[in-house]
Structures are given as C-alpha cells and as structure tokens.
C-alpha cells in the first residue's frame, strides 16, 4: 500500500520537494492545483520542486472548458451553486445560533447540575444542524445527478478519460492548496480517483480534500459566520480526520472553550493541526494519526499524539 503525507502550508516553508524525494518515487507525479483557479497554469515553481517530473492534470482549465462547451452541464452547475449557496446561508444562520447557545449555556451558573446536561444537549443541537446540512447537501447532489448526470456529458467523459490516462502513468500525486470549494468541485466532476498504489502528498486545501469531512474555519475572519462550518465530503482517503491548515493563523487556539466545542462537535474525528513545517505521514495505507501529530483534544487544548 502507498503512503499519504499531509504537509503544512508551503508558501513560506517549502518541504514538498524533500518530502516527495523521501518517498523514493522515480516516475511521474500528477499535480492537482485547481484550487489556485485561474493561476493553475502558474505551476513552474511547483514543478521545479518535483524535479521536472510533475504532470499538471489542469482540472480548473478542464472545468472552464466543460462550462464553455456543455451548456446543459453549465446550466446545472449554476443551478447547483445557487441552491448550495442558499443552503449554506440557512445553515450558517442555524449553526451560528446553535453555537451561540452552547457558549451561553456553558457560561450560565449551574447550582443543581443542570448545566452539563444542558450543554451536552446544546452540543447535540449543533451536531443535528450539521447532520441536517449534510443530508440536504447529499439530497442536492442526488437531484443534480438525476437532472444532469455527469456520466452523460461527452465533454466531461473525454476529460475524465484523459485524466484517468494521465493518472495511470503517475507514481504519485501532489495536491496543492487554494480554494477548497473549487478544488473539491473539480475532483468531483472529473471523478478523480486516487489509485491505492499511488502515494499522495497534499497540503492546505489539498490536505482537507483528502479527508471525509471538510470543515471551513477562520476565527479571525472579520465578519460572516464565525463558527466552523461543515462544507462537503472530501475524497475520504483519510477518514476520521478534520484537517486544519494554518491553524495558528486561523484558529483561536488559546480559546480553549471554543476549541473544546469544536473538538466535541466533531467527536468522531481527530482535529489535526497543519501549521508551517508540519509533516504528518500515513505509511502503507494507514489512516491512524501517527505519533507526533498535533491535535486539538476534547478539552480544547493542543496535544501531541503519543505523548501522555
């Protein structure tokens, strides 16, 4: 089985070249950087880190091509986006109210032990909002599959064939960061399936895309929904992990109560911090977090896997 490696952001601490070399890969390496959107073709620096062996799958470019050539798909894509935006707006309203309730309950003095019960119930209400969103999203995907099946698009089919052939030639895949929504959309439309034997190195949005639940977060965003938001399902190569790139820059890590709510909300998952310089290795198909990985635990503190 292959190795999967999640890295910290690569903008200031570039480790992707050394990491890929450590895998002993001798063949070609597929590059997925559709999260960079219209800058996707500015990949010379990334290709350089891969010693010139990188093959860009150009998923964003292909998506633009499909939108231009397949009017039926384009209309369905706009309709899907409109509905998803509306769903996200309602989800945001419900979620923020539910999270605010958790904090309000947690701060209320409890003399007769009602507090902890109320808090757990409030947490469950947050999870219920997440479940509602996930179910609605799944329903939305289902309706799009029914009205504009991707398999029936000749243009998409052609691109899928070419992508599949390129992937077959590659020994490893690197997935860069950028806009996680765009990245996931291109991976989904072109049905990019990572081969079990292919090693994968991913960072930032790319790391998020490898998990099963992609969670958006930014505690310092000036406005909008302050709570972390469930966004979509990822490729699921690393189930049970919520990837949190740029954690130091984007999360209020000293706000233990807030972090605890996040950890308890996604209780089935480990909250993995991916800051500059992080290298988290999953060898031989492993999905368990390795010793040394930094996570947010249920108390809201940062802890290190394997350290008591």
């Amino acid at each position: 089985m292959s190795t999967t490696i999640l890295l910290g952001p690569q903008r200031f601490t570039t480790t992707v070249g050394a990491t890929v070399r450590s895998l002993g890969v001798t063949g070609r390496i597929a590059m997925v950087n559709s999260g960079w959107e219209e800058r996707e073709s500015d990949d010379a620096e990334l290709a350089g880190h891969l010693d010139g062996r990188g093959v860009n799958l150009r998923l964003h470019h292909r998506m633009m091509d499909v939108l231009a050539k397949d009017q039926h798909f384009a209309a369905a894509a706009v309709a899907f986006r409109d509905r998803m935006d509306e769903l996200r707006a309602f989800y945001g309203i419900r979620l923020q109210a539910a999270i605010d309730a958790v904090h309000a309950v947690a701060h209320r003095t409890s003399i007769h032990a009602v507090g902890p019960i109320a808090e757990e119930s409030a947490m469950e209400a947050v999870r219920e909002v997440d479940r509602w969103y996930a179910a609605e999203l799944e329903e939305l995907y289902g309706s799009v599959r029914a009205t504009a099946p991707l398999d029936e698009s000749g243009t998409i089919g052609w691109h899928r064939g070419e992508i599949g052939a390129l992937l077959d030639e590659c020994e490893a895949v690197v997935i860069a960061g950028g806009n996680v929504r765009t990245l996931l959309r291109t991976l989904r439309v072109f049905d990019v399936t990572l081969r079990p034997e292919q090693s994968v190195v991913a960072w930032s949005a790319g790391a998020m895309a490898l998990t099963d639940e992609v969670v958006l977060f930014h505690d310092f965003t000036p406005h909008g929904v302050a709570a972390a938001e469930l966004h979509d399902r990822g490729l699921g190569r690393l189930p049970g992990i919520v990837a949190l790139p740029h954690a130091k820059r984007r999360l209020l890590l000293d706000g233990h109560e807030r972090m605890s709510v996040l950890a308890r909300r996604f209780a089935e998952h480990r909250l993995l911090l991916l800051d500059d310089g992080a290298v988290v290795r999953f060898p031989d198909g492993a999905t368990e977090l390795p010793v040394g990985a930094r996570v947010i635990d249920r108390t809201g503190h940062v802890s290190v896997v394997g350290v008591a």
């Binding site: 952001p9 903008r11 999260g35 219209e38 939108l67 384009a74 894509a77 706009v78 986006r81 409109d82 935006d85 707006a89 960061g177 950028g178 806009n179 996680v180 929504r181 765009t182 930032s204 949005a205 998020m208 958006l216 977060f217 930014h218 965003t221 000036p222 406005h223 909008g224 929904v225 938001e229 966004h231 790139p245 740029h246």
Partner: protein
C-alpha cells in the same frame, strides 16, 4: 512630557528669518507631538485662524504671532487616530482670505474643492486604499439608463469585479453620489483591493450620480422609484445578480444616506441592507426648528416621520459617523431606533469629520460586514 517645539522656539526670541525657515523645514506643519497639533502660518498679516468643522473645538481657531516675527502658531489637542480637514484664514486690514495651508502639502479633495489635512498620531490611511498591483482590477462600464420616473436619461457606472463570470451570481450594491465615491473615496480601487484580499465577496456595484442632489436625495419618490423599480430590475435582467433582497444593498453618505434610507422605506423588504455614512439623520423632538436651513426641511420631515413609526425596512444596517461632525448626535440617536425596529445594526465612529476620506476609510469595515468575503474557502 517634553516641551512643545513651538514653545522651545519661543525661548529663542527675537527670531530671525533663517531661524524660522529652519524650524518650519524641520518640523513641517502641522506639528504633531503626542496628542497635540500645532498649526503654523507665516506672513505679515493682521490676524490668522485655522478654519475647520470639528465639533468641540473653537472655529475659527485663532493663531498668535510669535514675538515680533511673521510666524503665527496655535496648539490644540488632537486625540490619537484623529484626522481633521482645515483651511487657513487671514485678515489684512479689511481683506479676508481663505486657502489651504501653504506649509502643509497634504490635501484632501471633495466636490467642494480641496482642504488641508491634519493627521494625528496613530492615524493611518488603510493599506487597501492605494493601488495594489497584485489586485486584479474590476471594470467600470459607463451607461445611460432611461428613467421614466426621473424623466431623463440617467448616467450610471457599473462596476464588474475582476474575473466577472456569467456562470456566477453576484450581490448588488447601489452607490449614491456614485461619481464622488469613485473620485474622492477611490472606491473602485478599494473594491478591487478588498475583493482581492477576500475580505469582500465579489459584487456588482452601480454608481449613480444625482442631477439635483438637494431635491432628489431627501425622500424623493421619483428617485426611489428609479432605483427600486427601474435600475435594479434592469440590472437584474442584464447581469447575473442574486435576485433576493439579502443581496441588494443601498449606500450613501450625508444626503446620500437619506436617499438610501428613504428609498428603502418606500420599498420595504426590497433591499436587504443599507450602508449609511454620516447620514443627515437630522430630526426634532418638538417643533420644527432644526437649524439646518431649508435644504434640511424634507430630511427632518422624513426622519421625524420614521422616528414616529420606525420599521425594519432592511435586515442589516451599517452606519458610520465621525465624532467631529455635527451629525454625530443624530446618528448616535438613531442607532437604538433602528435596532428597536428590528434591524441588525453595526455602528462605528471615527475621529474624523464630514468628508470623503472619512467615508473612504470606513468602506473596509462596512463592505466586509455587509458582503463577507470567501476567506473561509481559501487555504493556500
């Protein structure tokens, strides 16, 4: 606290020309020392004043001659972060003259002309105001829109954000005094930068200039009809806009704020949000002696009526006002009225006056609140 530079200069009386030259060259004007500003003027005149419109400071603010020299000075308190626009006024015999401070190269511009700028310690021009070569520019398209309501062709400028794509949908921002916002508040550059930084969602803005501002802006039915029943539907038909109230915002400053609010009042629920900057929310609690002159009569009538029966005409309201402008009290007073009516209000104050750079500096906060950008989606 160290003694003020001008007081140290006074110790060296009598002053000769070269000494004053060196002093002015070294310190410039105004001299900012902690939370104090010293204004200077040089010339053989009978009287000199700083003319400003800062509520709380004497206006005019007289300067005093230093010794027998031709240097005049006055020192005033200027709290951290303040920004004041001013001019110098002189009297020579019976002759009065008013002009920008010849010792201060820093100017601000407005439709009324230019003024000198005194920036206190701690004031910074936001870095999203200047052109950023990395920010992809949006496009401004000039058009004439025929308006039955206004019985004329109305010029507008439509801002399309960088990467404008018909496969996306965009919120709409209607900007009153549109030409002035572009010219004096650098609003195209500001939009380009805030969108590039992911602080603000890509949006379409339509910049609408008035023809007869004092008539059309204070609660004028044809103007409101033009905006709500002609302009917005036309743009919604032609551009990929999000066709919901939440995605429609009206903004304006001063009388433009009244134009925004009164249009929303005439078409409640059609717009989701408002951005009111130093809005002329003048009202009276008893009688009608508002002191604003005849131009404010329709404003006061409108605001008084709204205060009698406040209603939530939009969901969200961003308000800003300078603490040095006379409108600060009515603006502060209206915040609880709007909130009580059921609107979510974000209200900010600044140590600034009734001017375009103040409104420019508040755009970042207001637009990011009204149209939060996609920061949560981007993990580079």
């Amino acid at each position: 606290m160290e003694r003020l530079a001008v007081n140290r200069l006074r110790e060296r009386l009598p002053l000769d020309g070269p000494t004053i030259d060196r002093f002015v060259e070294r310190y410039g004007c105004p001299i900012i020392e902690g939370e104090r500003a010293t204004f200077l003027y040089r010339g053989n005149v009978d009287e000199v004043w700083v003319r400003h419109r800062v509520v709380g400071l004497p206006d005019p603010l007289p300067l005093k001659r230093i010794g027998e020299s031709d240097l005049w000075a006055v020192t005033t308190v200027l709290p951290e972060g303040s920004r004041v626009e001013y001019q110098i006024e002189i009297r020579k015999g019976d002759h009065y003259e008013r002009f920008n401070d010849p010792l201060n190269p820093r100017l601000a511009h407005s439709p009324m002309g230019s003024s000198s700028v005194c920036a206190a310690i701690g004031y910074r021009v936001p870095d999203w105001v200047a052109h950023d070569p990395e920010a992809r520019p949006g496009t401004l398209v000039e058009e004439q829109v025929h308006s039955k309501a206004l019985r004329r062709d109305q010029p507008v400028q439509i801002y399309l954000p960088a990467r404008f794509n018909r496969a996306q949908r965009y919120p709409l921002l209607v900007v009153h005094d549109g030409t002035d916002y572009l010219q004096f508040a650098a609003m195209k550059t500001v939009l380009d930068n805030l969108i590039h930084r992911l602080d603000v969602d890509p949006l379409v803005a339509v910049f609408v200039p008035p023809r007869d501002r004092l008539k059309e802006y204070p609660n004028h039915a044809p103007h409101a009809r033009f905006i709500a029943r002609e302009l917005v539907p036309l743009l919604t038909e032609r551009l990929p806009l999000i066709d919901t109230p939440e995605a429609r915002c009206l903004m304006g400053s001063s009388f433009g704020g009244i134009a925004s609010l009164s249009t929303a009042v005439r078409y409640p629920g059609f717009f989701g949000s408002l951005m009111l900057q130093s809005a002329s929310l003048v009202f009276t609690d008893i009688g009608f002696d508002h002191g604003g002159g005849p131009a404010f009569d329709p404003v006061v009538k409108f605001v008084n009526r709204f205060r009698e029966k406040p209603s939530a005409v939009v969901d969200r309201l961003f308000m800003s006002c300078g603490v040095y402008e006379p409108l600060i009290t009515p603006n502060r007073s209206m915040v609880p009225v709007f909130r009580h009516a059921g609107m979510t209000v974000r209200y900010t104050e600044s140590r600034d006056g009734h001017n375009w750079e103040n409104w420019r500096d508040r755009l970042g906060d207001g637009l990011a609140w009204l149209f939060p950008g996609p920061q949560k989606f981007v993990y580079e």
